[in-house]
C-alpha cells in the first residue's frame, strides 16, 4: 500500500477572547491510496478541524499550527503559501461539505459551478469544460444533465444537490476526497443512494476518502479503517472490524453501546454521562476519564500513551498497560467481541 497523506503530531489552537482553545492536541494518522478512513467523534472532538487544517481552510487570523506536519506526497501542507495551496485545493484534495443547501452558490448555474475547478486547474476551454461537466453529472446519476446544467441550485432537491457537490469535488480527479458529514442532512433512503454512489466512484477513480461522521452505521458501511476522536486526540484507531468487534478504549465502548441495535430488547440504553471536555482548559490526564466508568487513578494524572493492539490497531488508554487491572467491558461490547478472532471473548468454531 502507498501512503498518500501523513499527519504527524499535529497540534492546533484557536485564539479566542476567552483564551487559547486547544482544538487538536497531537493527532497522528496516515491515509493509504484508495482506502476510506472514517473519523468519528462527537461535536467538538476535533474531527472537522483536523480536515479543515489539511485543506488549510481555517482562518489564519485566529488559528495557529502549534506543531506537527501534514505530509501530502512528501510536501508539508502547513508550510505552503496561499498560492501554492490554491493549486492543491480543489485539484488534488477536494472536499464535500455537510449541508448541500449552503455549500452551493445560489446565484450561479450549477454548470458554472462544476466547470469552475476545471477552468481553474486544468487546461481546458469552456466548451470542453462544459462537456466534462455534463459527463460528471451523468456519472453522479443526474437525469438529463444537458438541460439541468443550466439550472440553479434551488431547482434541485437535497439529494440532487449533494450529487452536484460530489460532481464538483470529483471534477479534477482528486487524490484525496474529504467528506465532512456528507449525508447527515439527508434522509436514510437518499443517504443510502449517496453512499453507494461514493463507493462506486471511488472504485472507478481510485481516490482516497476521509469520511467524517458521527453515525456509526454509516461508518460500518463505508470505512476500511476508523479513527475515533475525543477531546482533540485520536483515542483509538484500527480497521473497521477491529473498532466494531474488538474496541479497547472506554469511549469507543460508550459510543458503540449508546446506539440501540434493531434487535435489542427493552433494556436501558447506555448513555455516556456528562458533557465533552472544555478545550480551553483541557483535563490533565485522559480527557475522557471524568465521564468514564473505567477510569483509573492514573487517568486523572497523566495522559495515556498509545498502546499497540495489533499492527493496524492502537488505542490510547491506560487499561492496555500491562500493570492495569483487567476490566470487564459493558455487556453489549462483550457481545461484539465474541465475533472477533483474537479477542479474549471470542467464541469461534475452534472451541
Amino acid at each position: 500500500m502507498e501512503k498518500i497523506l501523513e499527519v504527524k503530531d499535529l497540534q492546533l489552537s484557536f485564539h479566542t477572547f476567552a483564551g487559547e482553545v486547544k482544538a487538536i492536541r497531537g493527532v497522528n494518522f496516515d491515509l493509504q491510496k484508495g482506502e476510506t478512513l472514517a473519523i468519528v467523534g462527537e461535536s467538538g472532538s476535533g474531527k472537522s478541524v483536523t480536515t479543515k487544517a489539511i485543506m488549510r481552510l481555517l482562518p489564519e487570523s485566529s488559528s495557529e499550527f502549534k506543531s506537527g506536519q501534514i505530509l501530502f506526497n512528501g510536501k508539508d501542507l502547513t508550510k505552503l503559501s496561499d498560492k501554492e495551496m490554491q493549486k492543491i485545493r480543489g485539484k488534488d484534495i477536494s472536499m464535500i461539505f455537510q449541508d448541500p443547501m449552503t455549500s452551493l452558490n445560489p446565484t450561479m448555474t450549477i454548470g458554472r459551478q462544476i466547470t469552475e475547478p476545471l477552468l481553474k486547474h486544468q487546461k481546458v476551454g469552456k466548451t470542453e469544460a462544459k462537456k466534462i461537466a455534463i459527463d460528471l453529472l451523468r456519472m453522479v446519476g443526474m437525469p438529463k444533465p444537458e438541460l439541468r446544467i443550466k439550472q440553479y441550485p434551488h431547482q434541485f432537491s437535497g439529494g440532487q444537490r449533494q450529487r452536484i457537490v460530489i460532481a464538483i469535488a470529483l471534477a479534477c480527479n482528486p487524490q484525496i476526497l474529504i467528506a465532512d458529514e456528507p449525508t447527515t442532512a439527508l434522509d436514510v433512503t437518499i443517504q443510502a443512494q449517496i453512499l453507494e454512489l461514493m463507493k462506486d466512484l471511488q472504485k472507478k477513480i481510485d481516490t482516497s476518502i476521509i469520511f467524517i461522521t458521527h453515525d456509526l452505521g454509516v461508518v460500518a458501511n463505508v470505512a476500511d479503517r476508523v479513527a475515533v476522536m475525543y477531546g482533540g486526540r485520536i483515542v483509538e484507531m484500527g480497521t473497521v472490524d477491529e473498532i466494531f468487534y474488538n474496541p479497547q478504549h472506554p469511549y469507543t465502548w460508550g459510543l458503540l453501546s449508546s446506539m440501540p441495535s434493531l434487535d435489542s430488547a427493552d433494556e436501558k440504553l447506555y448513555a455516556i454521562p456528562g458533557t465533552p471536555p472544555d478545550l480551553l482548559d483541557p483535563p490533565k490526564g485522559d480527557a475522557f476519564a471524568l465521564r468514564s466508568d473505567f477510569a483509573l487513578a492514573i487517568d486523572l494524572e497523566q495522559a495515556p500513551p498509545v498502546f499497540q493492539v495489533s499492527d493496524t490497531h492502537y488505542a490510547a488508554t491506560w487499561l492496555l498497560h500491562p500493570d492495569a487491572p483487567q476490566v470487564e467491558p459493558p455487556a453489549a461490547i462483550v457481545e461484539r467481541m465474541k465475533k472477533f478472532p483474537g479477542s479474549r471473548y471470542y467464541e469461534g468454531v475452534a472451541r
Binding site: E42, M259, L262, S264
Partner: protein, 313 residues
C-alpha cells in the same frame, strides 16, 4: 390493550387549498393512540409527519377530519377557556433546542410560562419551587433557573424543553424530532430521560423522528408515513421483523447498522409507487392484515398479504 387516549379520524391538512400550488401535507389519515404508550411516526422529510403532530395539537387548523382527545374533538368549536383546559393536557417538545427557547428569557420564566398562563401557582415562592422541582426532574439543578438559554449545551437545552412541557402536568406529549439535533452520546441521555418520565408519570408520547433505530427503541407501535399518507402501522417489533408495505421495506433496508459484517451483505430495496399497479375504482385503505398490523393497500393486495402472513405463521 389499554383505553384510547387519542383518536385521529380522517385528518387532512392541506396548504394553499384550492390553489394551483395546493400541498396535501397530510392526506386523510386515521389512527389511535392508547394511554401510556409511545407511538413512533417515521418517514422521509416532507412526508407530513411533523405536520401531523402540529395539526393534532392545533398549531394548524385542520382542513378536515377529527382529533378526538379523551372523547372531545380538539378541532371542534371551542371557547377560549375550553381550549385552555385542553392545552394543559397536551404539550410539545420541539426539534431544535437552539431555536425553541426564547434567548431573552431566563430559564425560570421559560419554564414557568405555562404555570402563569394556567394560574397553577399562587405566589412567587411556589412558582420558583415548582420550577426548581421540574429542573431536578429533568436532571438539571436549581442554580440553572437564573441563567439564560445560551449558557446551556444542546442536550441541556433539550432538557429545558422537556421541563417546560412537563410544567403543566400534561397527559400527552408530542415530541417532534427531539434528538435529531443532538450528539449520539447525548441522544441516549435524552431518550432515557423520556422513558423514565413516561414510567413515572404515565405519559403518552407521539414520537416523531427519522432515526429509525431510536424510534424502534422508544416506541411501542410505529406508523410509517409516505407522501401525506400513513402506509403501515404495527407494533414496533412486528414492523421491523415483518414489514409488509414495500415502502416500509425499502426504508428499513436503507438503514445502516453499526455492524460491518451486516453492512457487507445488506441489500437495499428501492420503492417504486408505480409497482402497486392500482386499477381505477380500486379502494385503497388501511386494512388489518394480522392483529394490530395495518397496511395501506387495495383489496387485491390485502388478500395476498393475508395469505403470505398466514403461511409465515
Amino acid at each position: 390493550m389499554a383505553e384510547k387516549l387519542l383518536e385521529i379520524r380522517n385528518l387532512k391538512q392541506y396548504f394553499n387549498e384550492g390553489k394551483a400550488n395546493e400541498v396535501r401535507a397530510v392526506d386523510d389519515i386515521s389512527f389511535d393512540i392508547y394511554k401510556g404508550e409511545t407511538l413512533g411516526l417515521v418517514g422521509e422529510s416532507g412526508c407530513g409527519k411533523s405536520t401531523t403532530g402540529r395539526s393534532i395539537i392545533r398549531l394548524y387548523n385542520a382542513t378536515d377530519g377529527e382529533v378526538i382527545f379523551d372523547g372531545v374533538n380538539v378541532h371542534g368549536k371551542k371557547s377560549k377557556s375550553d381550549l385552555k383546559i385542553f392545552n394543559r393536557k397536551m404539550q410539545m417538545i420541539f426539534q431544535d433546542p437552539y431555536a425553541s427557547l426564547n434567548p431573552r428569557m431566563k430559564v425560570l420564566d421559560i419554564i414557568a410560562e405555562g404555570l402563569d398562563i394556567h394560574g397553577l401557582t399562587k405566589n412567587a415562592k411556589e412558582r420558583k419551587d415548582r420550577v426548581h422541582e421540574l429542573l431536578e426532574t429533568v436532571g438539571l439543578n436549581k442554580e440553572h433557573a437564573n441563567r439564560y438559554p445560551h449558557e446551556f449545551s444542546g442536550g441541556q437545552r433539550q432538557r429545558l424543553g422537556i421541563a417546560r412541557a412537563l410544567a403543566v402536568d400534561p397527559e400527552f406529549i408530542i415530541a417532534d424530532e427531539p434528538i435529531s439535533a443532538l450528539d449520539v452520546s447525548i441522544q441516549a441521555q435524552v431518550v432515557n430521560l423520556l422513558k423514565e418520565l413516561q414510567e413515572e408519570k404515565g405519559l403518552t408520547y407521539l414520537f416523531i423522528a427519522h432515526d429509525l433505530s431510536m424510534v424502534k427503541y422508544i416506541s411501542d407501535r410505529i406508523g410509517v408515513m409516505y407522501f401525506g399518507k400513513l402506509v403501515e402501522l404495527a407494533p414496533a417489533d412486528e414492523l421491523y421483523k415483518n414489514p409488509l408495505h414495500p415502502y416500509t421495506q425499502s426504508l428499513l433496508s436503507a438503514i445502516p447498522l453499526p455492524d460491518p459484517n451486516y453492512e457487507r451483505t445488506r441489500v437495499r430495496k428501492s420503492y417504486d409507487p408505480a409497482s402497486h399497479n392500482y386499477q381505477d375504482g380500486e379502494e385503497i385503505a388501511m386494512r388489518e392484515v394480522t392483529p394490530g398490523h395495518f397496511v395501506f393497500c387495495s383489496e387485491r393486495e390485502f388478500e395476498s398479504l393475508k395469505l403470505t402472513s398466514a403461511a409465515r405463521v
